[in-house]
Amino acid sequence: MRTGTILLLLVFFLVSCSSDPQQYQEVENYKVGTKEVALTFVQDSPPKEVYQKSNFKVAVEVENLAAYQVEDVTLSLVGALDQYLQFHDPIQEVEGIEGSGILKGRSLTNPQGEKAVVYFDASAKELFLNADEQSLSFLAKVSYKSTVEFSETVCINPNLYDVYDSGCDVERKNSYSGQGAPVGVASMEEIIAPGTGGKVEFRLKVKNKGSGRVKSIDLTTAKLGGKEMRCTFPSTGTPHLEAVDIDEAAVVCEALLDTHSSYATSLFLDFAYDYVASEKHSLKIIK
């Protein structure tokens, strides 16, 4: 009797766990995690081996897996030694649906992200002396401009020590997995200077989690509850940062507190960045 009851309960649990995916399809949030523009050499184009003194095509697929539109997308083939391999037009702008150099990001209406294939005409030259083969490597390099948004609900509590204030609780520090782009806010710290004329300071850490490198970052928008906020990169003292390769950068935002009681509000930051990523490809020139 007891065994039967247990089995029945087990069946009940199992049945209740399964559901119709059509009925409860979850809305995917594309603006989380680390996603970027992906480069893929189309299979067999070029083939792994090409004959000397022959022409062939190199096809590279550029796919925007990020949640944001990318612009000025340029693809170039770098490092080919012209004695062996010649690309006739090694720098090309990627043609997207929206226009030249634009690829739309992933969204509810475009869950796959936009992709484009770029073709390069190439020629394999003569092998060196009586070499049987020559292995060569070159890089496909994509450069683009894009943006990334960061929004978070924060608690502003000017009376940190007021035990009677039953509003929100300030979370001192939060970490984030990303905002659907290679560049994103990795962590945020909230520091409140309470009292009259008090202010709130947000210390954010922007990180490059993608496979390429960030050449520059601009903080274009910073709002706290709809109000503009002053934000700078401490290293430059401006909302603009430029370097050879920005791996990590600190951003400090400040706002004055004009209330005495705690409240929850939204923090919104918009960054624009220049990004470069590359992918190596090898082929063999044979006799």
Binding site: D82, I91, F128, S137, S143, S278
Partner: protein
């Protein structure tokens, strides 16, 4: 002196050395006297029996050696009776007596054997195609095993595991002829690994360490019989000064003997002190020879192990390539005593170059030492060789699977043997010419008697032409060499010399560089790490393994793949000069006799040539980019090419496109030259009466 003469003298010296060791000299000292003898297994009583065993065995070994030599081509049985097995056996006995120094110090005995016999081997049988040398190496190999086994006393009977790797090596090297076929090696190594694993299990791991130690004698045997030179010869790796030192001046077995000597070799303080000094001197010698870490070129080894004959041939070839210079150890002593202790290495190089220049001016130019012409020759040569001081590095181009090569074969079986024979001496030249280049071949032959007198030879071939031209992929031709009319070869030993001048040979070498424009240090580091290192693979010159090639370097530093541009119009920009340096390297065993043309394709770079044409010397014409060396035979081995700065770049290399960030370029250097190949073969003519009688 022929090889057999060497054998005789070598054996004689071994014998005499032993007598000295076994005789009064040693017994006169306190080293081996009294109690010392009685306690050791190698000493009196029991000791003697052990020594007798050694003597007998060694004697047998000498007999075996004799048999081997008789069987080997070109051997002369008449010579062997003079190498008395007793002498060799006595040598070992004497050395044992000389080194038997004490009961507690029995450990030292085999080490002394190694030290002394190793040095005898080094002095008399180093390099060359000597069977005695090979036999001695094998004896020393066994002694080394015994010496190391004594060091492993604490492993008890497991110390005998040490002999396993030695047996493996012997089986593989001599029975399987050093088969390096990957499939064979896989089976062979797997079998050995299984045995090792079984031993490890049965001995609870105790037998593994002695087994590892057993690889030491195997490695030393390999080194001693010429593994390094073979690698150099096979792969044409650069013969660095270190390599030279290792090849010529390193008594490998003595080194092992020194390393295995115990801390104390006798109860006698003086004896210990003497040995200590001896050891320190030995170490000093090694330090002098090993001036820097191991030979980096060994990294190029692919599984390829030659047979003993091939190795000896390689060692001979290498030694022919090395010019007559001062022993580096002697040069170092001279530098130290002259007070140049701050830059000993530079001093050694300078002394060796000075010696080479001196020989060039006296032997090649025929000038008398001390004469004004000799002084001028020295100054000029020093100037020309400055470029070599900062010689470009390089490696062998592995993509050129079949290099141009040549082989001279003496068909010795068909050589005349009697003085009256009117028979020719057949010689074959085989050339592999995979690029089907038109090569002209001009052969000559000579005879040299044992007194050094040279007689001209006359060559006959199927063709009437003295100079043959071929562009076949594989060329092979026979010549019949006769003594010139009027020359009669009397009974005695001779050397047949064959010379072939290969004309119009070509070689191309290459080097890759990345032009990055003017960028920051951080950007440069990033580019190297993320992009350039993935694409630029030839950072040092790659030269096909042919007779000769141009080694060159373009850039800021040696083998730095990055070339930056410093705009002279921009203020405060650090000046980054780009330099082009090069030289022609003789990688074969012959001689470069004429460089018809050398040219480096600079891909639009403009060299700064700031010397006058009047400076052009007698043997060399041109500049850093192109030229010729008509009298290249004046140079013993490498031929310097002038060094120059690069004055300007093409615009695309000065400022690469922003999207590309950098531009890669491959530079190529081509060489057209004539090359002289020489080979010798000894033979003996006897009178008919001697055979009949």
């Amino acid at each position: 002196m022929g090889i057999f003469d060497k054998l005789k003298s070598g054996a004689a010296k071994v014998g005499s050395g032993i007598k000295w060791g076994a005789g009064k000299t040693w017994s006169g000292t306190k080293w081996g006297a009294g109690k010392t003898w009685s306690g050791t297994k190698w000493g009196a009583g029991k000791t003697w029996s052990g020594t007798k065993w050694g003597a007998t065995k060694t004697g047998e070994g000498a007999s075996w050696l004799a048999r081997k030599n008789i069987a080997s081509p070109g051997a002369n049985q008449n010579y062997f009776p003079s190498i008395s097995p007793k002498a060799v056996g006595g040598a070992v006995v004497g050395a044992a007596a000389a080194t038997a120094v004490g009961t507690k110090k029995a450990l030292a005995v085999p080490s002394f054997f190694l030290l002394i016999l190793g040095f005898i081997k080094f002095l008399f049988f180093n390099g060359g195609n000597s069977s005695i040398g090979l036999l001695l190496s094998i004896c020393l190999f066994c002694i080394a095993g015994y010496a190391l086994a004594q060091k492993l006393e604490r492993y008890g009977r497991f110390k005998l595991n040490l002999f396993l790797p030695m047996i493996y090596f012997v089986v593989w090297y001599f029975m399987f002829k050093g088969n390096y076929d990957p499939e064979f090696l896989a089976y062979f190594i797997a079998s050995l690994a299984a045995i090792t694993l079984a031993i490890a299990l049965f001995t609870k791991g105790k037998g593994v360490f002695p087994e590892i130690v057993g690889f030491i004698p195997a490695i030393f045997l390999f080194l001693d019989i010429g593994m390094l030179p073979f690698l150099v010869d096979k792969y044409g790796l650069a013969v660095t000064p270190i390599m030279e030192g290792l090849l010529i001046w390193m008594p490998w077995w003595s080194l092992l003997g020194l390393l295995t000597l115990p801390e104390e070799v006798s109860d006698n303080y003086v004896a210990n002190a003497l040995i200590g000094i001896f050891r320190i001197l030995g170490y000093l010698y090694i330090i002098f020879v090993f001036v820097s870490p191991w030979v980096p070129e060994l990294a190029y080894t692919e599984a390829l192990v030659p047979g003993p004959e091939e190795i000896s041939q390689a060692q001979q070839n290498i030694e022919q390539r090395i010019p007559t210079v001062q022993n580096p150890a002697i040069a170092r002593f001279a530098c130290l005593f002259s007070g140049e202790i701050t830059d000993v290495e530079g001093c050694v190089k300078r002394k060796q170059t000075e010696k080479e220049i001196e020989l060039f001016c006296t032997e090649v130019e025929g000038l008398k030492k001390g004469s004004p012409a000799f002084d001028e020759c020295q100054i000029q040569e020093q100037e020309r060789r400055k470029g070599l001081g900062a010689a470009a590095e390089g490696t062998i181009d592995q993509t050129i699977k079949i290099p141009t090569s040549a082989k001279i074969i003496f068909h010795k079986d068909s050589f005349p043997q009697l003085t009256g024979d009117v028979l020719p001496f057949p010689i074959e030249l085989q050339i592999t010419n995979p690029r089907r280049l038109p090569i002209s071949i001009q052969p000559e032959c000579f005879f040299q008697n044992s007194g050094g007198e040279i007689f001209n030879g006359k060559l006959e071939t199927g063709s009437q032409d003295k100079v043959i031209t071929s562009s076949e992929e594989t060329f092979s031709n026979y010549w019949l060499c006769y003594p010139e009319q009027g020359v009669t070869l009397t009974a005695g030993r001779y050397t047949l010399l064959f010379k072939a001048t290969l004309g119009d040979l070509t070689s191309q070498s290459r080097l890759q560089r990345a032009f990055v424009g003017s960028i920051s240090r951080e950007e440069k580091e990033r580019l190297i790490k993320e992009e350039i290192s993935k694409v630029i693979t030839i950072t040092e010159t790659q030269v096909p393994a042919e007779f000769a090639g141009i080694y060159f370097d373009i850039g800021h530093l040696d083998a730095d793949p990055i070339i930056e541009y410093s705009d002279p119009s921009v203020e405060n920009q650090p000046d980054k000069p780009v330099i082009l340096k090069s030289y022609i390297k003789n990688m074969g065993s012959g001689k470069i006799i004429n460089v018809k043309n050398y040219e480096i394709d600079l891909q639009g770079l403009t060299p700064k040539i700031d010397y006058l044409q009047s400076d052009v010397g007698r043997t060399w014409q041109g500049d850093c980019r192109q030229g010729s060396v008509p009298n290249a035979y004046s140079y013993k081995r490498d031929i310097p090419i002038p060094t120059c700065f690069i004055a300007d770049f093409p615009e695309e290399l000065k400022n690469p496109d922003d999207d590309l960030e950098w531009v890669s370029k491959e530079f190529r250097a081509s060489l057209k030259y004539d090359y002289l190949l020489e080979a010798k073969q000894g033979f003996e003519l006897i009178e008919l009466q001697d055979v009949v009688g």
